[in-house]
């Protein structure tokens, strides 16, 4: 079962601190491969913390681990991932003449990975 959701890429404290240690370090890799998700959406999809999910955009596809966030912090249908190579893999190279690829509010399909 897959659902269409909106993915926001962004910064976080742990992304920033682990970035200083290096993007090839274990902590940065872990931080940037964790998908935050509304807990009610997770329950509907039969997911719990640390389960693997496939995230597919028009451009690319990644598999990450999910982590629940309360509905007051992350509305249903929204996803958050810290910037990193995985979030970049979902970005389109077309910048619509601006130079800026869309890296926030990307429409994605999400489904549990068995």
């Amino acid at each position: 079962m897959s659902e269409t959701m909106i993915l926001i890429g962004g910064r976080s404290s742990s992304q920033g601190t682990s970035l200083c240690a290096g993007k090839l370090g274990t902590e940065y890799v872990e931080v940037s491969s964790t998908l935050e998700m509304n807990v009610e959406d997770m329950a509907r999809l039969g997911l719990k913390d640390n389960d693997r999910v496939r995230v597919r955009s028009a451009t690319g596809e990644i598999v990450v681990r999910c982590k629940g966030r309360a509905a007051k912090d992350l509305p249903s249908g929204l996803l958050f991932i810290a910037y990193g190579p995985l979030s970049s893999a979902l970005m389109d190279g077309d910048t619509a003449g601006s130079g800026m690829p869309l890296s926030k509010n990307i429409e994605v399909q999400i489904e549990p990975v068995a």
Binding site: I6, I8, G9, G10, R11, S12, S13, G16, T17, S18, C20, A21, G22, K23, L24, T59, G60, K72, D73, L74, P75, L78, F80, Y83, G84, P85, S88, A89, M91, D92, G93, D94, T95, A96, G97, S98, G99, M100, P101, L102, S103, K104, N105
Partner: protein, 448 residues
């Protein structure tokens, strides 16, 4: 910590665009590390802790260890032989290094772009279209009684923006700090920044432009359809209240993040916010500032602007600068497979760019200058280890409000600065091509 320590006072943190210049650093000269960073935020502490002297090769050429001199020679030959060389990055290095990079682009008729193009580049386009009612962070600290953060999460990305300048900071006309200000956060999700906000306005994703445009209408006393609630997720009454607060404040500041520039609408979103700030100056004093990410991304805008006339996305192939976002911005140049060589300074497009752009980087010779191993240095033909600006080398950086700040390095490094490596590359390229590359101009003359 050994007994061999010393304190460097009033050093500068270059992790983010706040460029806090009140760091008191304790340096351990035995372990070659900074063991304490007084006044630093959580990001600053990590920045100083993780930038001790590492044992890395001076340079790598196709994965083989080499001297800096050998790598400079290899880099110069790549750039001299290229027909469409591009230079990118530059936001985490000094203005002095940025100047050398622009000079190289000028000499070889190359493309020069900075990480601004994937940061607030759209806001830069909006500045050109709409203008900018601006202020320094000091003015905001001392005067702003209404601060609106829009599409950003400074609590996690710029923690001291709150404490030093815009929320809890006490100022000349804001003697009680937070008690004298109203703080508003507008975002699509409730981030940790909401904790400092008196008012949190949650907007539906991709609807910032509509909210900003409605606020412009309300500020001017125009009618707004109550159906705006269904469209944007923000009730009309909330917008009316916000518009009234904006008009009634003594000094308002809109501080906006990449929640506007990196989503649908891009420069139109930033332009709408800048226009709203301009409109409000009919009623009170209002300013707008983009919250900038990298430590010297603002310097990159300034240096590239004062040397070429444009802030980013500049091409020199005709012998004079041309500015064209979407054409000469790096994601586009790479995704279309155009460049045939790349010089990347203090940036990691191999991690941050769309796959099509990364794929092209793998096809062309890439030169990287960086203190750390990165995704980009791993795919580079020539990777040169350089020292870290602000920690190992001095120079000038620009804070996010365009205030230049002189760096005070704390820890000597065995690695050269970006500036010195770029200067030597520039000199060697000049020798190889016999001065500035003008043939591009001649070809155009023949074609005409």
């Amino acid at each position: 910590m050994s007994a061999n320590t010393r304190v460097v006072r009033n050093a500068t943190c270059t992790f983010c665009g706040c460029v806090c210049d009140d760091m008191h650093l304790t340096v351990d000269d035995d372990t070659h590390k900074i063991v304490k960073a007084e006044n630093a935020c959580v990001l600053g502490r990590a920045w100083f802790k993780e930038h001790g002297i590492e044992q890395r090769p001076q340079a790598l050429i196709e994965g083989r260890e080499a001297s800096t001199e050998e790598a400079i020679e290899a880099a110069a030959r790549i750039l001299a032989d290229a027909r469409f060389p591009m230079i990118y990055g530059l936001s985490d290095t000094t203005c002095e290094a940025q100047r050398q990079a622009v000079a190289i682009a000028d000499m070889i008729g190359g493309n020069i772009d900075t990480t601004t193009s994937v940061c607030h580049g759209p806001s830069g386009m909006a500045f050109q279209a709409v203008g900018e009612s601006t202020a320094t962070l000091g003015e905001i600290r001392n005067r702003a009684d209404l601060v609106i953060f829009w599409g950003g999460n400074p609590a996690e990305s710029h923690p001291r923006l709150f404490t030093r300048y815009s929320v809890t900071a006490k100022g000349m006309y804001i003697p009680n700090g937070k008690k004298d200000r109203t703080v508003v956060l507008v975002d699509v999700r409730r981030t940790p920044s909401a904790a400092v906000a008196d008012i949190f306005v949650q907007v539906k994703p991709r609807r910032d432009f509509e909210v900003l445009w409605a606020l412009r209408a309300l500020v001017k006393g125009r009618h707004v359809d109550p159906a705006i609630d269904q469209l944007t997720g923000v009730p009309l009454a909330t917008l009316e209240d916000l518009a009234a607060r904006m008009k009634a404040c003594r000094f308002g500041a809109l501080m906006f993040g990449m929640g506007l520039s990196m989503t649908r609408g891009r420069h139109f979103n930033s332009g709408a916010l800048l226009a709203l700030a301009s409109d409000l100056n009919q009623y009170t004093h209002f300013v707008a500032k983009p919250v900038r990410g990298h430590g010297n991304v603002t310097g990159a805008d300034n240096v590239v602007s004062w040397q070429t006339g444009f802030p980013f996305g500049v091409n020199m192939s005709r012998g004079y600068p041309r500015f064209s976002p979407g054409e000469f911005t790096t994601v586009d140049v790479l995704s279309r497979g155009e460049a045939d060589a790349a010089l990347i300074v203090a940036a990691d497009p191999g991690s941050n760019f769309p796959q099509a752009a990364i794929d092209h980087l793998r096809r062309i010779p890439v030169i990287v200058l960086d203190p750390k191993e990165t995704h980009t240095s791993r795919l580079a033909k020539v990777a040169i280890t350089t020292s870290t600006y602000g920690i190992n080398v001095g120079g000038t950086v620009y804070r996010m409000d365009d205030v230049p700040i002189t760096l005070r390095p704390a820890l000597p490094s065995p690695y050269p600065s970006d500036e010195s490596v770029l200067k030597r590359i520039r000199e060697r390229v000049g020798e190889l091509i016999g001065g500035k590359r003008i043939p591009a101009m001649e070809r155009i003359g023949v074609a005409a």
